[in-house]
């Protein structure tokens, strides 16, 4: 075996290169590990994830699970992670809505509307998101003060401390209502399948939407009254300082949500516009010739075809939105990073805290991509 084969033969060369690369990588990692342990030792710092069980000793204003200042750092992380997921999910829903509406409106033949939408898109796309988050937060602060709250029938209140809504109180038997909702949903799905099969076979249509709505809403309502109203509503009342009771949507959440959804919505609207323009004009004209109205054409002909172009870039916008939610720290919305920063500051475990950030965001990205890939594959099947 000749040594020169190692660089003349393409396969051997590739192998040698890869081995060298791995060695180089191992070397870099080794240096980092050794440096880090030494630096930590020199500074007399402990490492490890044991601190997650220590008492957090600070309070969090928005918690989706039970938490107080005697809970552990680990639990605080979970609260923060859930807050991140909450704003990301709300943001994705709203950004999609805004994006589709703005994308369609920008192509509208109404000059004023298409111009206004263009201005909105250009402004939000070209100004740093951080500034927009702060902008919305300032807007939230200009809402009426708590004493001058705008109220709707003394049950829903709006002020610069948030939107306060009645919160449900669950009594015995309320689980049956959830079962009823589930039954309604399953029933609707079965009916929809049957209706589609029949339409395919005979061409007869069936009002699935109305029937479904009646079942999903009507069944739980009926059960609700039959059981003697097991779910009550606790309306907020005016207290000494604040409104008491009910649930509160904080202005920080609202500001972050508005900023994220208008910002991402602008990007999505461009994607939607490009998607719609990618559908050939012949399709619209053919639909017109068949007697479709413009609204129906958009809904049944253009959008389904545009979606195939829209979905892949849409996925990366969703990922961006989720990652951008970490800017919450600027206005004090207590998301993962915001709470993690507090933990970092109290415990000094920088390496561990930042590794948790990375793991959580990477997993969120993976889950979102996986879901969107599944959805993409599903609508791709519709193609004939």
């Amino acid at each position: 075996m000749r040594v020169s084969r190692l660089w003349t033969d393409a396969r051997a060369r590739g192998l040698v290169f890869q081995v060298l690369l791995l060695l180089g990588l191992a070397f870099v990692i080794a240096v980092i590990v050794v440096n880090t342990t030494e630096n930590l030792q020199r500074a007399g710092l402990a490492s490890g994830y044991g601190f997650l069980f220590d008492t957090a000793a600070f309070d969090i204003n928005q918690r989706l699970i039970e938490y107080d200042s005697t809970s552990s750092y680990g639990r605080a992380f979970v609260v923060g992670g859930l807050n991140t997921i909450l704003v990301a999910v709300l943001g994705i829903i709203a950004a999609t809505g805004i994006g589709f509406i703005a994308g369609v409106l920008r192509l509208s033949n109404n000059y004023l509307i298409s111009r206004i939408v263009a201005v909105y898109v250009e402004f939000t796309r070209n100004v740093p998101l951080l500034l927009q988050i702060i902008f919305w937060w300032i807007i939230m602060l200009t809402l009426p003060r708590v004493r001058d709250s705008i109220s709707i029938g003394e049950t829903v209140f709006l002020n610069n401390r948030g939107i306060r809504i009645p919160s449900p109180v669950f009594e015995n038997g309320s689980s049956i209502i959830f079962l009823a909702i589930a039954a309604g949903l399953i029933g609707t799905i079965i009916v929809a399948r049957w209706a589609r099969a029949r339409q395919d076979a005979t061409g007869q249509r069936f009002p699935v939407g109305w029937v479904g709505l009646t079942v999903v809403v009507g069944l739980p309502l009926a059960v609700y009254f039959l059981l003697g109203r097991p779910i009550g509503l606790e309306a907020p009342v005016r207290g000494t300082f604040n409104l008491k009771g009910g649930g509160n949507v904080t202005p920080e959440l609202t500001a972050l949500w508005l900023a994220l959804s208008t910002y991402t919505g602008a990007f999505i609207s461009e994607i939607v516009r490009a998607g719609i323009l990618s559908v050939s004009k012949g399709q619209t004209e053919a639909a017109g010739a068949l007697g479709f109205r413009p609204g129906l054409t958009m809904r049944l002909i253009t959008l389904p075809q545009a979606l195939r172009v829209i979905i892949p870039p849409l996925t990366s916008q969703y990922l961006n939105l989720t990652k951008n939610s970490s800017l919450a720290v600027a206005i004090g919305y207590q998301d993962l990073v915001s709470i993690g920063d507090t933990i970092l500051n109290q415990s000094g475990q920088a390496l561990e805290v930042i590794s948790i950030y990375m793991i959580v965001y990477l997993s969120l990205s993976l889950i979102t991509s996986a879901f969107m890939n599944w959805y993409n594959a599903r609508i791709a099947l519709v193609e004939r």
Binding site: A46, I60, S69, I331
Partner: protein, 343 residues
């Protein structure tokens, strides 16, 4: 053949790792001298304590300490590299050796001193956490705040103190965590929260900037002890001693009447007061003990003056912050500022 190459590579790698990580222990003082500048960690902006003037120069109460330390060690109060740190980045910066000293209104606590691996070298401002609220709330004490929304700055001990205070007094509150003092002030003014809690010095400073200052009141409760002071890394005792005695020298200078204006004159020859002589290096060899030259304290005081001068210039009654000396008066003036003697 391939195996042999692999083996060689492994040996070389191993050697490189060992070379790359040879232990190095160098004293901070030598590093500072070698670099010709002091790396001092300060706030990213806190009125009176660290802020910029119109020329973009950093000034303030905490900055003045850095300048005195640089003057003592390097003989030039401008040989400083300021590293601006937020509440979250300050500790890693000191741990990693990015800065030599942290002078950023940091509370001396056990866990920071012990667990985070720092040495607090003294206290340059005795503070305590208090609350400010509108008089129109009709509340006279922080203990009546159940149900209120309370603005706090994140990443500070105030967050923990508030939680403790609320727990012991059975107060149910909505914490409104806010990143910076400027934002907290804006939120409080817009009545996003009923009260704002931070260190008493910050409260007084904030209150002073309200147009309707008399409509607000600081509640009598001070819910925590906040001894603020500079800190260094643990493990370099010589450097900690230097940092500690520069601070002490500033305090003792006030006690002995040594000021920025008269320090050179007093250091020119022996005075009647032996402690002044020992401090200013005309008697004894205290500078040498610290590893500095004899005029170290002269240079430190000449930089920005003694403790009282620094206090008055940046945060005292004549400034916009208008803070009184209070606890920070010398022990003989009714405060608790008490530096060990030069002996």
């Amino acid at each position: 053949m391939r195996l042999k190459i692999l083996a060689h590579a492994a040996v070389v790698t191993g050697m490189l790792v060992m070379v790359g990580t040879a232990p190095s222990q160098s004293a901070t003082l030598d590093d500072v001298r070698a670099a010709g500048e002091l790396k001092c960690g300060i706030n990213t902006g806190l009125a009176g304590f660290a802020h910029t003037d119109d020329q973009g120069n950093w000034t303030g109460f905490d900055v003045a300490y850095c300048r005195a330390l640089a003057a003592a060690v390097l003989g030039d109060s401008s040989k400083i590299k300021f590293v601006h740190l937020t509440g979250k980045t300050r500790f890693p910066a000191l741990q990693s050796g990015e800065i030599d000293v942290l002078s950023r209104n940091t509370t001396w606590t056990l866990s920071r001193d012990v667990d985070l691996g720092f040495t607090f070298i003294g206290v340059n401002y005795y503070d305590g956490q208090g609350f400010i609220g509108r008089k129109s709330l009709g509340v006279m004490s922080a203990k009546e705040l159940s149900g209120a929304s309370i603005c706090i700055q994140t990443g500070t001990t105030t967050e923990l103190n508030l939680a403790d205070f609320a727990r012991t007094n059975n107060i149910d509150y909505e914490p409104v965590p806010i990143e910076t003092n400027a934002e907290a002030r804006a939120a409080y003014e817009a009545e996003r929260c009923d009260v704002y809690t931070t260190d008493a010095s910050g409260l007084a400073a904030t209150k002073a900037t309200f147009e309707d200052a008399d409509q607000h009141m600081v509640y009598p409760e001070i819910v925590s002890k906040e001894p603020l002071g500079p800190l260094v890394r643990q493990g370099d005792d010589q450097w900690a001693d230097i940092a500690r005695w520069v601070l002490n020298a500033l305090i003792i200078a006030e006690e002995l009447g040594v000021t920025q204006a008269n320090v050179e004159e007093m250091a020119a020859g022996k005075t009647d007061n032996p402690e002044v002589n020992r401090m200013l290096g005309t008697e004894g060899s205290y500078g040498e003990m610290l590893g500095l030259d004899a005029r170290w304290a002269v240079q430190a005081i000449a930089a920005e003056g003694n403790y009282a001068e620094i206090f008055d210039r940046y945060i005292g009654p004549d400034t916009k912050l208008g803070l009184g000396r209070g606890l920070n008066a010398l022990y003989k003036d009714g405060g608790i500022l008490y530096a060990p003697p030069f002996r």
